[in-house]
Each structure stands twice: as structure tokens, then as C-alpha cells.
């Protein structure tokens, strides 16, 4: 059985994609992709993490192991990321769109990052905050943006501008508290989402037609999955979907426990 963090009752609308709604595509009719990700197999019971630094503060609350968060009720997997893949070859050619710049909060809260996955896009800003009473840092291992690793003193905040899109989710870590990890998605479009505590994600505002998506999980491989009971191979963790106007419910995608072997 897996446990949830105490702060995991996040608003569905906040953790799933909403940024897409703010950007208009050239298509008059748009579609929404809905997927539920579940674990195929019995989830391991991951004990809380034990802080080896700043125990006086970080040890006050249990720090959940967020490497694989599985809902004990329906095996839904939290923090699975899906985004429209736009690679030059094999990717979807999206219509030109204006991206509305937004600011996203990434908080160093109770010695963990909140949220664990930030969905952003090119032109947005990440405001890294620190409501904790201990100092943190946030090490962004960008590929295309300038790598940054600012300290964030207790009560402080730092803004990171996302000037470039990233080809895949980027890891963020606090080096002072080495268990603190997060991911940030920075695409040049608004069509990305992360699954909530029930394993469900939605991507809204999608143009209709064949669209290629790419899936990612921080510690798992999404090459071999089971889609609505049928074994399916997602080459390079990608899948295609013919998006129709309105809701496109892909159903349930099961990820085998073995996919998290490295964890």
C-alpha cells in the first residue's frame, strides 16, 4: 500500500492542466483528452523519508516518499505527465498561438517541493518561495534555459524566467535537503498536464485531429503499458490519439509495477 502526502489533496483543476484554456488555437472546435493512469500490480509501501539535515524543523512533519504515489483505493498514479509532442519529425505541428505569460509558484514547503510537478510553458515565470523556517536552494537542471541554483532563505523568494521551451520534463532539486525533488515541464505550447491523486489528467483546448503525445513519470518507464486491458507498446513513450471535438476519454492506462524497477 502506498501512502499519500498530507498535502496531496490538491485541487484537481490546479494540478491538471488549465493553462491550455488561456491560449486559443486556430481551430474553432477543440477537444479535451482525459486519461486515468493506474498501477498494474501491488504498490510498495514506501515509508516516510528521514531527514539527515535540519532534523529539528524537517523532522516535525512526515516527509512522504513521492517517487511513486499510488492511490490505495483505485491504484491511481499521481504525477504522470503527458504533453503534446512537437518534435520536428514525428511530432504534431501545432498551429501558431500566443502564449499568455503566467507565474507559477514552486514552494519549498515542509521540506518538500509543492507542487511536485509544475506545468509551465515558454515565457512563464517560476516563483520559488520558501515558507519554511530553514534555508533551501532550488537547483534547476535545464537543458535549454540557463541552469540556475539560487538559495532561498526562510521567507524568501526567487523568480526564474523560462525563456526557452524544454524538450522534456526537467528535474529540480534542493541540494541542502537531498530528498527534495520536483519536475518542471516547459513546453512551447499549453498542452501539458499532470495526473492528480486519482491518476487522472485532462488536457483541454486541443486542436482536433491526429495528435502525438508523450508521457513521462519521474521514476517510471512508460514504454510498455496496458490501455483498457490491451498490452500496448508506446515507442519512445509516445502515443497518438485522434482528438475529436469535446471530451476524448482514453480510458485507463495501466503501468506495470516493473516499469518502476529503478525506484
Amino acid at each position: 500500500m502506498s501512502r499519500f502526502p498530507s498535502l496531496s489533496t490538491l485541487c484537481f483543476a490546479a494540478t491538471c492542466l488549465v493553462v491550455g484554456l488561456s491560449s486559443a488555437t486556430s481551430s474553432a472546435e477543440t477537444g479535451t483528452l482525459r486519461i486515468k493512469f493506474t498501477l498494474k500490480g501491488d504498490a510498495k509501501n514506501l515509508p516516510p523519508l528521514k531527514p539527515n539535515v535540519d532534523q529539528a524543523f524537517c523532522g516535525k512533519e512526515q516527509i512522504p516518499d513521492e517517487s511513486l504515489l499510488v492511490n490505495p483505493e483505485d491504484n491511481g498514479i499521481k504525477n504522470v505527465i503527458v504533453y503534446v509532442y512537437t518534435g520536428r519529425r514525428g511530432g504534431t505541428k501545432l498551429p501558431k498561438m500566443e502564449l499568455k505569460a503566467e507565474t507559477h509558484i514552486l514552494a519549498n514547503e515542509a521540506c518538500r517541493f509543492e507542487p511536485h510537478v509544475v506545468i509551465a510553458k515558454k515565457g512563464d515565470t517560476i516563483k520559488v518561495t520558501n515558507p519554511d523556517k530553514v534555508g533551501h536552494n532550488a537547483n534547476f537542471s535545464f537543458l535549454e534555459n540557463k541552469p540556475a541554483n539560487p538559495t532561498i532563505p526562510a521567507g524568501g523568494e526567487v523568480e526564474i524566467e523560462l525563456k526557452e521551451a524544454e524538450p522534456a520534463p526537467i528535474p529540480v532539486a534542493c541540494n541542502i535537503h537531498s530528498w527534495m525533488k520536483a519536475q518542471i515541464v516547459v513546453m512551447d505550447h499549453p498542452f501539458s498536464a499532470v495526473s492528480n491523486e486519482n491518476g487522472v489528467l485532462e488536457i483541454s483546448g486541443l486542436p482536433t485531429g491526429e495528435i502525438v503525445f508523450r508521457a513521462n513519470h519521474e521514476t517510471g518507464s512508460l514504454k510498455d503499458v496496458v490501455v483498457n486491458g490491451k498490452k500496448t507498446s508506446w515507442r519512445a513513450s509516445r502515443f497518438e490519439m485522434d482528438i475529436k471535438p469535446g471530451m476524448n476519454d482514453m480510458g485507463v492506462v495501466e503501468i506495470p509495477l516493473e516499469a518502476f524497477d529503478n525506484n
Binding site: 539527515n52 519529425r89 537542471s141 539560487p150 524568501g156 522534456a168 532539486a173 519521474e218 515507442r235 529503478n262
Partner: protein, 458 residues
């Protein structure tokens, strides 16, 4: 006197050298500055692995030179970055065998070989990028070790650098195994000791400074006795290796992310092998997708080196370094804003239990959700050439060494920029004092305190 000679196997036994991880001897470099100095033979194989040779009497060496004459063979190619291919494969969940193979073809066409490196000017978009590296200096620094009649030295990289940094600059030469920290892997394009902003490349002056002074506390020695023009050529070659290596690393990502490389090759319209056949194309209608993706990546990598000269981190004038400043710095060092003691320990004495690694290690471990101590998970990367994961420790500042320099300006930049590739973060500097930021004056107080620690006993 400098000479180059071949390396038949019997020669190795005659020399009594201790061979380190060398599969095939391909050349032996010999460097003698005069009869007073000993002669050291260095045997180099295709990965830059060298045999440690003992000193030999000069007549013996001369005889060996004659015996070996004519058998010299070249280091045919730069070894491909197999670790990076595996990183991309693991990260993206797709085979990179074809991508790596085709990238190697393109890299050889564009950047040449260790014997005959080339700067692919025909694919650059701007004059500054074309002129970043001098092809003549590349030829000086590359290839076998010898000198001409005018006593101009050649093969400088192989003579001075390859044993630690490896043929391709991967930081994986044979001596790397014996060093802590490991020699720099130049291919990441990430440099610690520089005057520029954290994410920026170093300037030429920064690289020259490291060559001249070394990095105290690490295996990087000073090359102050090497002629200035030789060091200048080496700077060009280091930039060349870094550009080539970073381009290779990023191209492997691009091959998967942009060109759809996988278990199957993507076909002629995206093939990097075909892209390598284009000498110069002027418009999007010419060339193929592979060419344009590679060319775009190349120009972006090289441009970052051009940009570095304008990205030198500013340092305000230094206020007086007196006892009051040191005392203020002590408070800041142990306070919550800078929180230096959180990693460097009370009074910089170290001893804080932080388990962390540098970015070169994290790339094939933690960023792929692999625990560095998990030998089974790490083994494929080790087989591909990765060095054993080794924990990085915050510098013990009390009485310690400052690898990148301990002068005020340098330490000020360490604080405001952090150290690229390491967990060392940067502090935020603000105009006015606040509970969450430091002013420039306070950063200087910290510098003065840290400098005072160097005088204390560890």
C-alpha cells in the same frame, strides 16, 4: 629535444612501464627538455589511456627510437560518448544505437579526428563563431607529440592533458581513476572556475588562468612552465573539445527528440549520416532535417562561447577588509540568509552530513532515478565508460584550499554565482538589506570572513 616514436609491444616491456587499462598501444610520446632532465615515456592508446613509463637513460631511449621508427600509428577517432547515448536511451525510453552511430559519422565529418581536427566553419552562421577557434592552433595542439626544427611544439594536448582528460576531453583518461575529484569532463560544456555567470561558458582568460595556476587541492597542476604560445594553442583545443563534446551530447538528444531516431533509422530526410555529406547549404530547401537540426545545435553551442565574454559577473568595489567586516561576515555565514554553515559546517570546518553528487554523476544516476550506490543499476553506465559515482563534499574552508582561486573578486563571484555543475548555490544580491537577501556589502563581509578562515588551522 622532443621526439615521437612508435610503440611495438616489445618496447613496452623494455621500458618496464606499468600499463593501465590499455587494450592496444598506438603511440608513445617522449618529452625531453634537456640532458639534465629525465626522460619520461607516455604510451597513449585510442582512449587516451597511457602507460606509466619509468625514466630511461638517454642512449637507451635513442636506440629504442631507432628500433621503433616507422611504426607510429595514429589515434584514428574520438571515442564516442557511449555514456550519453545510454543516458538519452534511458531518459527517453528508446534505443539510441542508430542515433549514436549516425552522430559519430557526422561528428567525424565536421570535427575531424584527434590527428587531424577541424573547425567546421562552413556550418557556422556568424563571423565570431567561425573565428572562435584558430584551425592552425588546433593542429599545433593535436596529434602526436613532436617538435620541428624551429622548436615549435606539436601534440600539446597529448603531451600535457590526455592522461587525465582523455582523447575526447571526457575526463576519463587513465589517471582519472586515481584522482579525487575526477578531471573535468569538458564535453558537458560546464566549467566551475570562471569569472562569468553560473550558466555561462568561461572566457579565454579564465581557461588560461586555470592552465597557468592549476586548481589547488585537485589533481590539476600548474602549466606555468609551458610556453605562452603553447598554452594559447591548448586553450583553443580545449574549447574545440568542449564544443565538439557538448554538440555530441545535445545532438543525441536532438536525434531522439527532433529527428525521431529509435530502433529504426529515420530515413534520408532526417538522417544524420546523410546530413554529414552536405558541405554547406544556404536555404531550408537544401539539406535535410538532420542537417538543419545539427547545424542549429552547433551554432547554439558555439554562440554560448561567444556570449561568455559579455557575461562576466560584476563585482562591486571591495570595501575595507577589517575586523568588523570579518565579524559581520561570521554572523552572516552562520545565519539563515546565507546559511553557509548549513553545508560548510560551523566556522567552515566541514563535517556536515550531506549526501550529494556533482552534475556529471547525477546525469547518469539521480536524474534517471538511479541511486548512485545501486551498483546493478549503475553498472551499464560504468560499462559504457562512466566513472564510479563519487560523493561530492562541501569545501572545508577552514585552512583549506580554494580550487578556483581565493582572491576577493573570485570568492565574491563564487557567492553570487555559485559553482556550476555542483550543489553550491548562488546568493541573491539586493540593493537594500532585507531578511531574505544580502547586499553587495554583506557579500563582501562574507568574503572577508571566508578569507579569514583560510588562515585558521583546519
Amino acid at each position: 629535444m622532443r621526439a615521437s616514436l612508435a610503440a611495438p609491444l616489445f618496447l613496452r616491456s623494455l621500458c618496464g612501464g606499468t600499463r593501465i587499462l590499455s587494450d592496444s598501444a598506438v603511440s608513445i610520446g617522449l618529452s625531453v627538455s634537456g640532458l639534465r632532465q629525465s626522460i619520461r615515456l607516455v604510451e597513449i592508446d585510442s582512449r587516451g589511456y597511457a602507460s606509466v613509463m619509468r625514466c630511461l637513460p638517454i642512449p637507451t631511449v635513442l636506440i629504442l627510437c631507432v628500433l621503433a621508427a616507422g611504426c607510429d600509428s595514429a589515434v584514428e577517432s574520438f571515442p564516442p560518448n557511449r555514456v550519453q547515448a545510454l543516458v538519452v536511451e534511458t531518459s527517453r525510453g528508446v534505443s539510441t544505437e542508430n542515433a549514436a552511430s549516425d552522430a559519430t559519422v557526422l561528428l567525424k565529418q565536421w570535427f575531424g579526428t584527434p590527428e587531424s581536427p577541424r573547425w567546421p566553419v562552413e556550418h557556422f552562421d556568424t563571423e565570431p563563431t567561425k573565428n572562435l577557434v584558430d584551425p592552425d592552433k588546433l593542429l599545433r595542439a593535436s596529434g602526436r607529440v613532436y617538435s620541428d626544427e624551429a622548436d615549435q611544439h606539436f601534440g600539446l594536448y597529448r603531451e600535457h592533458c590526455v592522461t587525465c582528460h582523455g582523447v575526447s576531453g571526457g575526463g576519463d583518461g587513465p589517471a582519472s581513476l586515481l584522482q579525487n575529484p575526477y578531471p573535468r569532463d569538458l564535453r558537458a560544456g560546464v566549467f566551475k572556475w570562471k569569472s562569468t555567470e553560473r550558466a555561462a561558458k568561461p572566457t579565454r582568460s579564465d581557461l588560461m588562468l586555470i592552465l597557468e595556476h592549476g586548481a589547488p587541492g585537485s589533481g590539476m597542476p600548474s602549466f606555468q612552465n609551458v610556453a605562452a604560445e603553447d598554452l594559447d594553442a591548448l586553450v583553443d583545443y580545449i574549447i574545440f573539445l568542449s564544443v565538439r563534446g557538448e554538440f555530441e551530447r545535445r545532438l543525441l538528444y536532438d536525434a531522439v527528440d527532433e529527428l525521431d531516431y529509435g530502433a529504426e533509422s529515420p530515413g534520408d530526410d532526417a538522417s544524420l549520416t546523410l546530413a554529414s555529406s552536405f558541405t554547406r547549404v544556404a536555404s531550408e530547401e537544401q539539406g535535410n532535417d538532420g542537417y538543419w537540426v545539427a547545424r542549429d545545435r552547433l551554432n547554439r553551442v558555439v554562440q554560448s562561447w561567444i556570449d561568455a565574454e559579455g557575461e562576466v559577473a560584476e563585482v562591486p568595489p571591495q570595501p575595507e577588509n577589517d575586523a568588523a567586516s570579518v565579524e559581520r561576515g561570521r554572523d552572516l555565514f552562520h545565519g539563515q540568509i546565507a546559511n553557509c554553515a548549513g553545508c560548510h559546517g560551523k566556522e567552515g570546518a566541514g563535517g556536515v552530513d550531506i549526501v550529494d553528487f556533482d552534475d556529471w554523476t547525477k546525469e547518469f544516476t539521480t536524474r534517471l532515478s538511479i541511486t548512485p550506490s545501486d551498483r546493478d543499476a549503475v553498472r551499464p553506465f560504468r560499462k559504457a565508460g562512466a566513472l564510479r559515482p563519487r560523493q561530492i563534499h562541501p569545501r572545508k574552508l577552514a585552512g583549506g584550499f580554494y580550487r578556483g582561486g581565493g582572491d576577493g573578486k573570485t570568492l565574491y563571484r563564487r557567492l553570487t554565482q555559485g559553482i556550476a555543475g555542483t550543489p553550491m548555490p548562488s546568493v541573491m544580491v539586493a540593493e537594500e538589506p532585507s531578511p531574505t537577501t544580502l547586499t553587495a556589502s554583506q557579500v563582501w563581509d562574507l568574503v572577508h570572513y571566508v578569507q579569514s578562515l583560510a588562515e585558521e588551522k583546519p
